[in-house]
Amino acid sequence: MATTAHDIKPDAGDGCCEFTFGGASLTLTGDRAVYWAAERALLLADVHLGKPASFRERGAPVPEDVTSGDLARIDALVDRHAPDRLVILGDLAHDRAAWQATTLDAFAAWRARHGALDVVLVRGNHDRWAADPPASLGIEVVEPGWVLGGNADKDGGGLAMHHEPVSGGDLPALCGHLHPGVRLRHERGRGRTGMRSACYWFSENLGVLPAFGRFTGCAMVRPGPADRVFVVGEGRVVEIRGRG
């Protein structure tokens, strides 16, 4: 699939891509988060707090630095874009371990560093198992379908925030949940190695964000012929061409 690149311009050397989706001008960052400048909002999905702790309890050695590393990445994004609001498109928590000792302490400290930031969590399937974050953290928890941006008087124009993919809504939607990734191949012949990479995946009315958490993995997706795919790696974003 050959794509014209008229609506993407690689940001001046910082590895981001500007992409217009549903009328909104979005910055796709190389750190698996979207910045929507018009709304001064940082969007990300699938942090899966507590997953390392929960794996350790089951006998899999996952370093605890994964959690602090993820939180430090949010710090860096907030420093760089200075958003008013952080919207998490579901699965902030992996399971109950998120709200227990080690992980909760780290997260509460992070929250204290960003007291002025509005944090909105669109409830995801894992958040339902894990229970809502403790009220003391000051996180607004909303149901999927919560709308950001646009003008309610003028019949929309915003984007609907979801966790799981949806179809047929009134507004274009952004979601997470899938942890999308693609398998890349060399153009010529079959090289020794291909690559798997996390990606942003946009179809006409739905955009799927890559999973933000470091210890989350990817599920390979097969985009449709008209879809747009941006792979993320090494702090950069690149739109990838398709092959039918």
Binding site: V62, L184, T216, G217, G224
Partner: protein, 840 residues
């Protein structure tokens, strides 16, 4: 004590049993019995042929008959069967049944009150529970089942009183992590029973002594080597194509010789036709059915992906003496074990790849000791005739390959630590003694041991980096050592025991539920519904793929693309590659000899007239300027894997010299490098490019080492218990397992870069996939050869295989991630209307 009057190493009952069958024990069998009787351990080896089983079995029986227990029970009216005395380890559970039957026969006929049972992954849970209450006298099991037994808290007590262990087909286990797992299991058994005798049965290897040492461990007395009977002769016979293509193309399937092959099959009783890949087996089977429909029902297909029931039916037919089967088309799935006496002809299609492999396959026919083993070789390209002729010569001069034990894999060690902690707990110092008594871990360092202990105890060496983690911990109640406290961890560990890591299997089924077999997920996940592929001898069409099941229907036509699966990247062994080089050198001097070499004579003469046939002390380089680019061919004869790596290294070195985009391909014989513009190198410059100096650094820089390590880490992660291939009730697709091994790879690299499992994955890539040692040997050898640079006008017969393969080329690049990504593409869905997995 041996009662007086009895001969050492035999017993009247045993001699009587042999006589009752009209047999006389072979001298090597008596040697093995005597050695066993003297309390020694060792290895019984023979190129092919039979008699090894009885050589290993009778020693322990004689020993028991001569013991006080034996004397008492043989006199008793209704003897109680003795407890576990002999353990028999077999590499394949499919073999366990046949082995059990063949071992039971002498026991019963001699009226010995032993019980004999098997315990494998197929054994029912009721039988397993019964065995744990009361073990049979003789237990036949696999390395995995042995490890699982050792992982029960009462495991060690089950093996108290064990006198002997026999490891069957030791050569099959030796070069793999399963071999290391077996070594570790044996070390535990030896610690429990200091007088334990261990014996291995093996094909003859280039390193038979090392194989014996690995079996008995490094702290036992010198192992005894008993050489079995070699077959009278191994006849290597080739099907010579009526016309020889002068430009042999690798990968050509060569069913063009089908007519001649079928004629051979008709002449013989029952034939086994071996191919090198499952895909090739499917193609041969289908072509045979298409061209010779009259053989329908008399030819069967057998490979590792077919449903077990189908395979067992084929095996039963093969064993039957009135079999209607004329031929079974098979892969390495029938390399091992089971005695199919009716088989009287073996056919090898395609390169033999190694001498030992061809000998072993030849040995599948003429199974009687001393009989002639015959193998009919079918070339799939003309140069394979040279390989067959070389293999024949190597067999005659006994140039057999080695199988080297895997050096100290830490993933297997960490698995063993948890197993030992579960199996009654361990004291660190004594377990370490046990582990380092294994050949594979003989030079384990303090640092490696401490790391492995820290890994299973705290998750890693960085204190505090892994809170809440403890797979094993010091027992708090009675100081009995290291144990596993969590039941959950224990259950998971037991289910994940083993070192066989294969691509996740997807069941292939018809809509009515009939199962045809299983196929790698990596292959089937690339297909779209409607795509066609051949499997189980039938053309099939994919209907859908869901939940690890591929539903298929028969394909109406086989027009269009037929997807192929299965690797077959096994390189030519060093022995065989050297033999081929020698053969060609002889031919270059005009010394042909033998039908095969005469047949390829026109090809070799063409090579000589266009360029040169390299002499034994020469390294041939050809450079050709063609319209599509400048082609350089180098022929070190070092085997595919090493030469693929070498191709990458040479490209990197050339591009440093003058920046250019270079494409490299390697096969078993040589390397091809293609550039846009001609590069003129002098002898001295070639010497620099081919230098063994800085080899490892250049190799790491030139191949996408981190991507290769990431893949290899899948296996390491699975064995070390980081990921699992799924538990009952929570089936994970391998895509998810893959994702999680990727996740560990990334987080370790970022947060725990000193993790030795990462090192291990890298080492396995360098040593296993890139054969760096062989590569070094090849370059060292090249440094001593005279360079001969030819400039032929066209591609030569030697180079044509490479030339044809250069479409599959790897291009070396030192570009950034971003540039690399920009040159890559992703497969988008073909049909816009496909619903599965779509968004929106």
């Amino acid at each position: 004590m041996t009662p007086s009057g009895q001969q050492q190493g035999t017993h009247p009952l045993v001699d009587g049993w042999f006589a009752s069958h009209g047999w006389d024990p072979f001298p090597f069998q008596r040697d093995a019995w005597r050695a066993h009787n003297e309390g020694r351990s060792g290895l019984i080896h023979a190129p092919t042929g039979n008699g090894k089983t009885l050589a290993a079995m009778m020693g322990p029986l004689i020993d028991w008959l001569q013991s006080a227990e034996g004397a008492r029970l043989m006199d008793s009216e209704s003897p109680e069967p003795p407890p576990l005395r002999l353990l028999w380890i077999t590499p394949m559970r499919a073999l366990a049944n046949d082995t059990l039957e063949s071992l039971k026969l002498p026991i019963h006929e001699m009226g010995i009150p032993w019980t004999a049972e098997k315990r494998t992954g197929d054994t029912g849970s009721a039988a397993k529970a019964r065995q744990r209450k009361k073990m049979p006298t003789l237990l036949i099991t696999t390395p995995e089942s042995l490890t699982i037994l050792l992982s029960y808290a009462d495991g060690p007590t089950l093996f108290k009183g064990l006198r002997g262990v026999v490891v069957d087909e030791w050569h099959e286990l030796l070069g793999s992590k399963r071999g290391v797992q077996t070594e570790l299991g044996l070390s535990r058994l030896r610690a429990l029973n200091p007088g334990l005798r261990s014996w291995g049965l093996s094909a003859t290897l280039g390193n038979t002594e090392e194989a014996a040492r690995a079996l008995v461990g490094v702290r036992s007395a010198e192992p005894t080597l008993v050489r079995g009977i070699a077959p009278k002769a191994i006849e290597v016979d080739c099907v010579i194509p009526p016309t020889i293509e002068k430009f042999p193309w690798a990968g050509h399937i060569g069913t063009s010789l089908m007519g001649q092959v079928v004629a051979r099959i008709r002449e013989a009783g029952t034939s086994l036709l071996f191919t090198n890949t499952r895909a090739q087996a499917e193609i041969w089977f289908r072509e045979m059915m298409r061209r010779h429909p009259e053989m329908l029902g008399r030819v069967a297909l057998h490979h590792g992906s077919l449903d077990r029931k189908i395979r067992e039916q084929v095996e039963d037919h093969l064993r039957a003496h009135d079999s209607i089967l004329k031929c079974v088309v098979c892969t390495s799935s029938l390399d091992l074990g089971v005695d199919f006496s009716p088989v009287d002809q073996v056919i090898q299609v395609g390169s033999p790849k190694g001498v030992a492999r061809l000998v072993q396959r030849a040995g599948r026919s003429g199974h009687q000791p001393g009989a002639v083993s015959r193998v009919v070789c079918v070339p799939t390209n003309a140069l394979e005739l040279v390989e067959f002729a070389s293999a024949r010569e190597a067999i005659e001069t006994k140039q057999i390959e080695q199988r080297r034990p895997v050096p100290k894999p830490l993933d297997v060690l960490t698995q063993h630590l948890v197993t030992a902690a579960m199996g009654g707990g361990f004291d660190e110092r004594s377990l370490r003694d046990e582990v380092t008594s294994c050949y594979s871990y003989r030079d384990l360092t303090d640092q490696e041991w401490s790391w492995a202990m820290a890994f299973v105890h705290r998750g890693g060496e960085t204190l505090g980096a892994y809170p809440e983690f403890a797979r094993i911990s010091p027992d708090e109640t009675d100081q009995s050592g290291w144990t596993v406290a969590s039941k959950k961890i224990a259950t998971r560990h037991r289910m994940a025991i083993g070192t066989i890591v294969s691509d996740q299997a997807v069941a292939v089924k018809y809509a009515n539920g009939r199962t045809l077999g299983s196929i790698e997920e990596s292959f089937v996940s690339r297909l779209n519904p409607g795509d066609k592929f051949v499997f189980a001898g039938r053309p099939l069409q994919l209907v859908r793929l869901r939940q690890m099941t591929a539903t298929v229907r028969p394909a109406k036509s086989t027009k269009g693309t037929i997807a192929r699966w299965g690797g077959g990247k096994m390189p030519l062994s060093t022995q065989l590659a050297d033999a081929v080089r020698e053969r060609l050198a002889h031919a270059g001097r005009g010394e042909f000899g033998g039908l095969e070499m005469e047949a390829v004579r026109p090809l070799i003469e063409l090579q000589a007239s266009l360029s040169r046939v390299p002499a034994a002390d020469e390294l041939l380089i050809e450079t050709i300027n063609l319209r599509d680019g400048f082609h350089m061919f180098v022929y070190p004869f070092g085997g595919r894997l090493a030469q693929e790596g070498l191709g990458a290294v040479l490209s990197l070195r050339l591009s440093r010299r003058s920046p250019a985009s270079i494409t490299a391909v390697g096969n078993d014989y040589g390397i091809e490098l293609v550039t846009d513009d001609p590069i003129g190198l002098t002898d001295t410059e070639w010497r620099v490019i081919l230098s063994p100096d800085n080899l490892v650094d250049d190799l790491v820089d030139s191949v996408n080492e981190s991507e290769l390590a990431r893949r290899q880490f899948r296996e390491v992660a699975r064995i070390a218990g980081l990921t699992s291939s799924g538990y009952p009730g929570e089936r994970v697709s391998s895509r998810q397992t893959q994702a999680s091994s990727d996740m560990f790879f990334d987080v370790f690299n970022e947060f725990d870069p000193g993790n030795l499992l990462l090192d291990q994955a890298r080492r396995e890539v360098m040593e296993g996939q890139l054969e760096v040692q062989r590569l070094r040997d090849v370059l060292d050898a090249c440094a001593h050869r005279r360079l001969v640079i030819e400039r032929p006008e066209s591609v030569t017969p030697l180079g044509f295989g490479l030339f044809a393969e250069s479409m599959r080329a790897t291009t070396v690049s030192s570009e950034s991630w971003e540039d690399r990504i920009r040159r890559m593409s992703v497969e988008f869905e073909r049909q816009a209307d496909r619903k599965t997995d779509r968004i929106g």
